[in-house]
Structures are given as C-alpha cells and as structure tokens.
C-alpha cells in the first residue's frame, strides 16, 4: 500500500516539461476550470439561495440572481426554530452512528475470519460478501418493509439501524479484508508462538495496525447511512422520527408555494456534517473508495 502510494511521486512531472504553457492552458487548465465550476455550481446556488430574501429570489429584473444584496438568516431561523429540522438532524446522527457502530463490529470479525482464520469455505464466503454488496436497496425495500412491519419496528429508529447494515456490512467487510491482507502474517505467527489467543491477536495486534482502515470504513459507513433515502422514506412515517433527507423532502415541500430558501438551507445544513467529516479525512476517504474498487 505504502509503496504504491509513493511511486507516482518519484515519477512526478514525468514528461510534463515537453508541453508548452499555452498548450497546457487549453488542454488542462481550461477544461479543469469548467469541470470545477459545473461540479461546484449547485453548492454555490444552494448557499446563495439559503441566504437570499424572498424578494430578491424571484425578482431577476432588478437583482442579479448570481449575487445577494441583502443576505438574511431568516430561512435558517425558520428552519431551525419553526420546523422539526433539529429533530431530524438528531435522528440522523443517532441512526447513522448506531448503524455504523453495529456494522463495523460485525465487519471486523467477519473480515478477520475470512482473511486470516481461513476456515474451510472462506473464499466462497468472501465472494458472497462481495455479491451481497451488489444487491441494491431498490429491490429489497418492499420485502423489508413487510418484515419491518411484522417485527413491530415500523416507524422506529431500529427499523433503520437494523436494515442499514445490509449495505454497510458487505462494504466494510470487503474494505477491512483488504486492510487485514496488508498486515504481515509473521506478526500473528510471532504472537501465536508467544502464546497469544486468537482474540488477543485480533485486539492487540491486528486492530491497532488497521486503525486507518477502521477510520475509512467508519466514515464511509457513516456517510452512506447519512445519505440513505429509500429505506428511511419507506419505514418511517411520523414527522418526528424522520431523517434529514426524508424530512426535508416530505415535510418542507407542502404548500403550493415552495419555500425555496428554507429548502436550500435544509439541504445545505444537512450536507455540512458529511462535508466536514469528509474534509477531515479526505485521504482516508479517497483511499477507501479506490481501494474497495481495486480489490
């Protein structure tokens, strides 16, 4: 892993000096600029709408829509104090944290068993885990809704905490398998000779060495739970139990006149936690994303 990451640095630059500056501007900087503008524009538009007074929002004749003359916090105030938004945020945090924790716990054991215990059939189980990741929520939500209802979990946070692992556990297991593979066998063998049990090896040798992997899997699982929509839409009915994505869409869009300011503020604030988390761990995030695909 480390050697792989280092290699491009040695080669950095490569034959870049062969390109003249004007050519680089046309082939590299200009397209990059367009990409960045297009990819970021919706966020800019979200932000600017969230602080725009309603008057400016609908009057394109007298105000340039790309800018805001009198920024206001009215939409954010409305969102935080006159809707159930803070409750949805809290629900989302609780559900995402619980689902992440549950999935990580199950995945660590499963990944270690598949990768290192080498029980008979480990390869097949590893493949099954990968296939499980390919099963999309869109074909599971109907039968799951029947199950959730029969188990008496309908409209409770547990409906989501227990169903999110269906896509989190395969992903985290697959990711952690890759990490465990990079830990040398010799370390475990030394510990075995010194009389350590499998449990001690896992908790004292393997887990401390795979902290980066655990962080990657954790933030990924948290982000995926935070973004989940179809289960949350199907299994939760009452307003106070909703998560942010469902709440914003189903509760803020009610009247005929859309509250665009509040909607955009809701989208913005709902995105912030994952963006902040992401910005802290961007390297982990990228490596887990690409690592999971490369395996």
């Amino acid at each position: 892993m480390a050697t792989k990451a280092k290699r491009p640095e040695i080669d950095e630059g490569g034959m870049g000096y062969l390109q003249s500056l004007p050519r680089r501007v046309v082939t590299v900087y200009l397209p990059l600029l367009v990409f960045v503008i297009v990819l970021l524009f919706p966020f800019y538009w979200m932000t600017i709408t969230a602080v725009k007074p309603n008057l400016e929002m609908t009057d394109y004749q007298n105000f340039n829509p790309f800018w805001v003359v009198h920024p206001t916090l009215e939409h954010i105030r409305y969102l935080l104090f006159e809707t159930s938004y803070p409750g949805w945020l809290l629900n989302t945090i609780i559900i995402s944290t619980a689902a992440t924790f549950l999935s990580l716990l199950a995945s660590v054991f499963a990944a270690y068993a598949i990768e290192r215990l080498r029980f008979s059939g480990a390869r097949q189980v590893g493949l099954a885990v990968f296939l499980a990741y390919l099963v999309p929520p869109s074909i599971l939500f109907i039968p799951l809704s029947v199950m959730v209802f029969n188990l008496g979990l309908y409209d409770t946070p547990f409906a989501l905490i227990l169903t999110y692992p269906t896509f989190l556990v395969p992903f985290c297991t697959w990711l952690l398998m890759g990490y465990f593979r990079s830990i040398p066998f010799e370390l475990e063998e030394c510990a075995l000779i010194d009389g350590a049990s499998r449990w001690q090896i896992l908790t004292k040798i393997v887990l401390p060495l795979s902290v980066p992997g655990l962080i990657s899997a954790g933030i990924f699982a948290f982000t995926l739970s935070w973004n989940e929509f179809i289960y949350a839409l199907t299994f939760i009915q009452s307003s106070e139990n909703k998560t942010v994505p469902v709440g914003v869409l189903t509760e803020l869009v009610r009247s005929d006149v859309y509250e665009w300011g509040a909607l955009m503020a809701g989208a913005l604030i709902g995105s912030l936690p994952v963006v902040v988390l992401y910005s802290f761990f961007v390297e982990h995030y990228v490596s887990s994303m690409t690592g999971a695909v490369k395996e």
Partner: protein
C-alpha cells in the same frame, strides 16, 4: 514413541480445542455479520421473489397467485415504458459519466498545482446526500426561476424559458444530467487511482518510439486501465440502473411517466399504491438485468487476464 508421548499429555479441554479449530472459530467470528445479512438481506431477497407471486397488499398478507403479476406487467404499457426509460437512463448516463470521468481523471493526473485540493473539491458532489443535491437541482430546473434559463436568455441563446421538468424529452435529459453530475466524481477518482499505478517509464518508452499523444492514450493508458474501468463502470451501471432518489425528488416519474424508472415504479405501485405483490414483481424484474451486467463485467475481466497472459 510419538504415540506414547501423546497419551501422556492430558486431553485439551473442549473450549481450548474449539479455539484452536479454525472452522469453529471462523464460524463464531462470522456469526454477527452472517446473522445480520441472512436475516435482513438474504431472507428479504427470497421474500421479495415470493411476494412477486402473491397478491399481497399493505395490511393484508397475500395468497399465491402464480405468475399473474408478471402477466399483468407483460401487458402493461407503463411497465415497459419504465424498462425503456431505465435502459435509456442507464446507458446514456453511464456513457457520459465514463467519458467525462475519464477526461477529468486524465486532467487530474497531470502535474497540477494544488492537486490534492482539486481532488478533494471534485469529490464533493459524491459525498453530499443525493436527495439534498437533487433538491438543489430541482431549484435549478425550476420552470419559472431557473437560473439556467435566465443565464441562457441573458446570453441571447434562447428567447423563452426552458421547461426543464415539464416536457418528456427535456425531463429525461435533465435527470440524466443531474445523475451524470453526481456520478462523475466517483468515476474520475477511481480511474485516477488506476492512472497513478501506470509507470511513467512506459510513456517515455512509447514517446521515444515516436508514439503520438493519441497513440500514448490508446495503446498505453487504455489497455492498462481496462480492469479498473470494468469494475468502476460495473458499479456505476448497477447504481444507475437501480437509481431511485434522484427521480423521486425531481419528477416522481412524470411527466406522463416519461422518467419513471423501474425502481420508482416499484415504489409507486408497491408502497404508495399499496400493491406490495405487484411492486415486488417489478423489483424482481430488475434482477435479470443486474445479473447480466455483473456477468458481462466478470467475463470482460476474465478475457483481459487471459490477454495479459496471467493466470485466473
């Protein structure tokens, strides 16, 4: 001699023998994950197939009715329209994501200032919850106050506002554009990781042999990138095919079902309409397509390994 020394030793207790056995220990370690997946993934998958053969409704367990749901869907124009839409949506969005994502990856692979900053920025659309960015697109596509229409009008390119989500063709193009916007970062960043594993010396050698820039791309980059392209695009196709959120936010399948995907139709019939059996049947109808995509990429990968002269 060996036999006698074994006989002298006390028999290890059952617990310690169990902890020595890889199979018993493996079983114990697999238990939490396996239980979660069997109960909440494998069982519902089977239950979904079963529900497709029943007339279950919300609040009423159904009875077995054979293939009646499928017979009904077979003669249902809206279902076939949703199949067509899903294929169109998946094919065009995946193709655009691939071309633009590869282009972006190639740009980011250049020796740029603030490279990691750009890489971080570019991933943002993928990190933000789809529903929330889709709401931003909803506002961008607003029929009256669309910023796109306004900007194009100011530039003098169009003379009246574009009805982004109200017209079937426009609506299809609009949801595909939003999906591409969200999918580009994933494709670009994974392909970038693939590009970074290609040694520069190969390019230098090819340049010395007189290869043009296009030949460098065609005969060095592309072949070495094929495996990661195959995996990335499999994921991309699977997730696009089963997409639900974007459509649900932007159009809910309208106008006149022009953007209904199989997943949204399944939700509309199964949950909103209460016809669980029919909804499940639509969901089950997606499985053959998904299997076909997975097999296609699996065998595509196999072929490449063989071409490289590697073992399976």
């Amino acid at each position: 001699m060996a036999v006698s020394s074994v006989a002298v030793q006390p028999r290890p207790s059952i617990l310690s023998r169990l902890s020595e056995s890889h199979n018993a220990l493996g079983f114990g370690f697999m238990l939490p994950a396996a239980a979660l997946l069997l109960v909440f993934l494998t069982y519902p998958l089977g239950l979904g197939v079963w529900l497709g053969f029943t007339d279950a409704r919300i609040g009423r367990p159904g009875i077995f009715i054979g293939v009646e749901n499928y017979e009904y869907l077979w003669s249902d124009g809206v279902f076939w329209l949703s199949v067509f839409n899903t294929l169109l949506y998946t094919a065009s969005a995946s193709l655009l994501k691939f071309v633009l994502g590869l282009w972006l990856a190639l740009i980011l692979n250049q020796n740029l200032p603030f490279k990691s900053f750009f890489r971080a920025i570019v991933l943002l659309p993928w990190v933000v919850p789809t529903v929330l960015s889709a709401i931003a697109f909803w506002w961008i596509y607003d029929s009256q106050f669309s910023i796109l229409s306004w900007a194009l009008q100011q530039m003098g390119l169009i003379d009246h506002r574009i009805n982004f989500l109200g017209d079937p063709t426009n609506a299809r193009a609009s949801v595909i554009a939003a999906n591409v916007w969200r999918g580009i970062p994933f494709v670009a960043i994974t392909l970038l990781a693939g590009l970074q594993t290609i040694p520069q010396s190969l390019y230098e050698a090819a340049t010395l042999d007189g290869a043009s820039r296009w030949q460098l791309f065609r005969y060095v980059t592309l072949p070495l990138l094929t495996p990661i392209i195959a995996i990335t695009m499999t994921f991309s196709v699977l997730f696009t095919f089963t997409d639900f959120q974007l459509i649900y936010v932007l159009t809910r399948g309208g106008p006149v079902n022009a953007t209904h995907l199989m997943a949204t139709l399944s939700f509309q019939r199964g949950i909103s309409g209460g016809q669980l059996g029919e909804g499940a049947a639509i969901a089950v109808a997606m499985i053959p397509f998904l299997l076909a995509a997975i097999l296609f990429s699996y065998f595509g990968l196999q072929r490449r390994k063989w071409q490289q002269g590697g073992a399976d």
